[in-house]
Symmetry: C2
Subunit: 649 residues, 2 copies
């Protein structure tokens, strides 16, 4: 379906939108503010516009008289674009006065960085760790009665120049029969060594030619969700994807609670079985989708945080949650998949991404590998924002990393009306520059019931930009607006009034919430600043940012810089890698070079325990401001702030 | 106990013997013939001598009058030496006439070649493949919160310069607890790689210091018997030995019948379980004897013929018994001992000696390694004589090998009165140079019931030396002696008359028996001659012979050369290594260099399929003579024959 053009009068601004986009969304994208408190649920009745021509659907409401409707008046939040549309903004609250409605900032989200199989090919590193080769061998004769295994080894040497092979017992046990099943024509599966000096393992043998059936799995073991992808190792294509909630979740939402469970009698075995069972479910779903037999899976790469990796391997995680936070191991040997309870063939080998420390895990290492950060010349900041934010800084030359405890603010925790990014969560917001009336967007256009992390970020940035918050995150008492009032927890901003909300109370953001948010962003920024200064550089030297994790895709980059969560970088140089852990696991399935490189990358990655760096505490205190005590490190933000403060003064 | 001196009169010959030696044995050792048909059982009454002084016991018999006994007359075969003795030979059958009784040849048995741990030390190759090291590690701290595994790896690097380590999952699972059990003082068990480029595996961890408890097993998987030794890998000492019948034996005595069993439904699993059960019994016996816990066994090396190795590993042996005799494999990867049904700890690794071909197995390779043949400068013939004789020829520079089917003659098979080397078997024999009356020795001095392999060899040689057999192995009809007669299967020599035997018939050796014997020795000699000529040398170039296998220790070397079984070599240069397979397995437990070298040795060992060598058939036909068609290759034998023929003419 092609896009439609929406023209906004009287300002004569136009924009291309997808069919079904609401007029409110279109206005937001066009940078036009329309008051709207109910998040697009058609409840507040404030977002009235007049459709002058073009096809739309919806837009009826009890807030709208029949006469108005006949006259082309619609609620923008409830009207979908179904053709080229021309509409007129109704200047009901003096919005258009002086063009003030026209400064809704455009949202800049990070560019999605795709997994690029062609790039692997170009670089010559598309060398799957598991390969199938077809052999036509001479039949044994009186003058040539070499052993079956030796015959295969010689054939591989003569036909493919393969050397340094080791044949597993499982293969030896079936080699005689299978060689003779199709007259000494066989397909052998070779598993490449991670290290160049290692041996190639001959892990499977099949009668006839099967070289076009060679499959591998990549699994991201998330604390909440486990994701997998099934890959054709010959073409590099992803044949199926699946995800499911980690079966451990009923024993606690975070890693600390999982560790506590694992410390109980038989708890570790239980945690291991639960995560293995979920992985098996995910694998089953993918095998069914792609119509592939489980015996055809020759390889699986998994990545997870350090606790998830420990629980999956059955390693005691006890000291991960106790100072000085010592994991059992950060490197893991190749392991038979069946030894871990995975329902795969005896010959399938599981490879686990190495971790860096208790709180910088294999998921982050996988992200660094999958995003190509370890090969870039640009000084890059990689950050995965969650309750624990993991930070990696560096380039192909060096890498430093740390974890910082941001707290749950970005996931809605510790915020009075905070919530996860679910239906009814306020996910975007613009404030009228004079009246400070909000234009809210909610997920699924449901009446607002709370604020999700990405919405919180934008709201705090908007309040600060409009001059309603001072640098310390306190409401500016002099600002007289009915939306700011004194509540139970100090001053608060009323985002949604009870009658427009999906809950039975006003939705507000108070100063305690804002302090929690600031502490979260300060922890991350202070981590970044501490790390980069530890290597003798400045945050302004950062040339590129890579965001990973679910939150990353929703972050408005300008807001993130306005509040001082991310250092100031051209938004075009901020990439989003999505599930970096799954991406890295998948790339390891397709490139044995990456499996090799990861060892060197991990070994040269210097891990900092921020609590042990003297400077960190000072950095943290200096970051407890919007955007920072030192405005000079946010020059562009300062300019923008000055401009918007002027308008809203 | 010190030895006693026995003096024989009137010939004034004396000899040192052990207490309890019979006078007949003493005469035999002194090279003095005394007629004796009953093998030392006191039945025939022929071996009368007069004890003139000294202490003896026994010697009474119903064949001896009380007067004779009082007069000092004794049956030599039933009288034990218990002090220095002087005795007089009674020239009852003209034996002493012309000194004829004085040419009983001294038996030359091969010198036992011991396993020499000190030699390994001197050569600097006493490097057990499994080593234990004690570590005192620093406790984790806020400024040093490296992972537990990394702490051990760093400790090993700093304290012992150990590098390239890999830690198994089983160890990782207990590492956290064990490290903290004795304040970060631990003993780690390292398994060295077979290949220098490989990684060292950290296979076990124990709290505290256990470096003096490091044990390994060596196992010889024989078709009939399984032998084991338990070794202290630190001192090299053998702490226990045990043996038991291979549990497969009720399914057939030879490898062919075992293969037939394995081809039946579930037969291979059954054969595998039976041999594993026997090995477990042998291991249990040794652990009990040495009072060692089974978890303290870190390594086991096993050697067996190709069929036994296949059955133990569960590899289909089907094509071993079918032309062109193709085994599944000749090289075997390291395998978890528990995967093979061995009741050892999860971390114990089983290493199997590689084979050369279907009929030159890991037992022979182990013998070549254990005897040091692969390191010698001397051109050496290694031969293990049994139903299948395996031959290896060469030195440190090159090695060639072959198996030849000798048939069961050396084990008593296909011989009218043949038997295994058990009580009552005739094991030695001398013939009176004129009367051809025999002087027989039986095992355990029991009345004779048959002829064992080593006895057969001596008897055929004696008949040939005395001129009773011609070069083709036929009795010389002109020789008139009551001991040669025409029987059911042609001419025969009566060794024991019914009334002197332990069975109810005469014990004879006929021409068919002798032909079977000649075919057996011809197959082996033709194999040796073919092999050595294939590499452009002559049998006379052989400088040293190493005998392996049970039969080897009983072979009278002169007789073996007289009949043309072994090439002519100074008997002092013939070594016997006993169970070469067990010896080689044991040395692999003590020297990782030998584990490495074996791969190179096997790869440079050229295997010949004798049936495919044109020359072999001619060589075989030429060898169907005593000692050979071509007398010139037995110059010393020819001289000896001429001399004894002269006496007996």
């Amino acid at each position: 379906m092609s896009n439609y053009t929406v023209i906004f009068q009287p300002v004569n601004r136009q924009i291309q939108v997808k069919p079904g986009t609401t007029l409110l969304e279109a206005a937001h994208q066009a940078g036009i503010h329309i008051n709207a408190s109910c998040g697009g649920a058609g409840v507040c009745g404030k977002c009235r516009v007049k459709v002058e021509s073009g096809k739309t659907t919806g837009g009826k409401s009890e807030k709208l008289s029949a006469a108005d409707y006949d006259n082309g008046i619609r609620l923008a939040c409830a009207t979908q674009v179904e053709g080229d549309v021309s509409l007129r903004l109704l200047d009901e609250s003096g919005l258009l006065e002086g063009g003030l409605a026209l400064d809704v900032p455009r949202r800049h989200r990070a560019l999605l960085h795709y997994f690029d199989i062609e790039e692997l090919r170009r670089q010559g590193i598309f060398v799957p760790p598991v390969e199938k080769l077809f052999l036509e061998l001479p039949r044994p004769a009186a003058t040539d009665n070499m052993a079956d295994a030796g015959r295969i080894v010689l054939g591989l040497k003569n036909q493919y120049d393969e050397r340094r092979l080791i044949i597993s017992l499982a293969v030896m046990r079936k080699i005689r029969r299978i060689l003779r099943e199709q007259d000494f024509k066989v397909t052998v599966t070779l598993a490449r060594p991670v290290h160049e000096q290692g041996k190639t393992h001959l892990v499977n043998i099949q009668p006839g030619n099967w070289i076009d059936r060679n499959f591998g799995l990549a699994i991201d073991i998330g604390t909440t969700t486990i994701w997998g992808q099934l890959m054709d190792l010959r073409s590099g294509r992803i044949l199926a994807r699946a995800g499911d909630y980690n079966g451990q979740i009923s024993y606690g939402e975070d890693v600390i609670n999982r560790i506590i469970q694992a410390e109980k009698p038989r708890g570790l075995e239980l945690m291991q079985e639960l995560v293995a069972a979920t992985i098996n479910k995910v694998i089953d779903a993918m095998l069914t989708e792609a119509a592939i037999n489980r015996d055809e899976i020759d390889s699986v790469t998994l990545a997870g945080n350090t606790t998830m990796t420990h629980l999956f391997l059955g390693l005691e995680p006890n000291n991960i949650r106790r100072a000085p936070y010592v994991p059992v191991s950060t490197f893991f040997p190749p392991i038979r998949a069946t030894d871990l309870g995975l329902q795969l063939s005896q010959h399938a080998i599981a490879l686990l991404y190495p971790s860096i420390s208790s709180y910088v895990g294999g998921d982050i290492v996988a992200g660094v590998m999958g995003s190509g950060m370890y090969r870039t010349d640009k000084l890059t900041l990689f950050v995965d924002i969650g309750t624990n934010a993991e930070i990696v800084i560096g380039s192909r030359e060096w890498l430093v990393c740390a974890a910082c405890s941001a707290g749950p603010a970005f996931e809605g925790g510790g915020i009075s009306h905070g919530m996860r990014a679910a239906s009814g969560a306020i996910s975007d917001c613009s404030l009228h520059p004079k009246s400070f009336e909000p234009m809210l967007t909610t997920i699924d256009h449901k009446p607002p019931i709370g604020i999700c992390g990405s919405g919180l970020l934008i709201i705090v940035a908007a309040l600060f930009e409009r001059g309603l918050l001072d640098q310390r995150g306190k409401f500016v008492r002099e600002r007289e607006t009915p939306r700011i009032r004194e509540g139970k927890s100090g001053y608060e901003f009323v985002l949604v009034r009870r009658d427009e909300a999906g809950i039975d109370q006003d939705i507000v953001l108070n100063e305690v919430d804002i302090q929690n948010f600031i502490r979260a962003k300060a922890a991350i920024f202070a981590g970044v600043k501490t790390l980069i200064e530890e290597v003798g550089l400045e945050v302004s030297d950062i040339e590129q940012i890579i965001l990973a994790g679910a939150f990353g895709s929703f972050i408005d980059l300008d807001s993130a810089m306005t509040v001082g969560l991310l250092p100031e970088v051209d938004p075009a140089k901020i990439l989003y890698v999505g599930n970096g852990s799954l991406m890295g696991a998948g790339m390891s399935e397709l490139s044995n070079h990456i499996r090799r490189d990861v060892v060197a990358v991990v070994q040269r990655m210097t891990s900092f325990e921020l609590s042990e760096v003297n400077n960190f505490k000072d950095q943290y205190v200096a970051s407890l401001f919007l955007p920072h005590t030192d405005r000079s490190i946010f020059p562009e933000v300062s300019k923008r702030l000055n401009k918007s403060r002027e308008i809203s003064a």
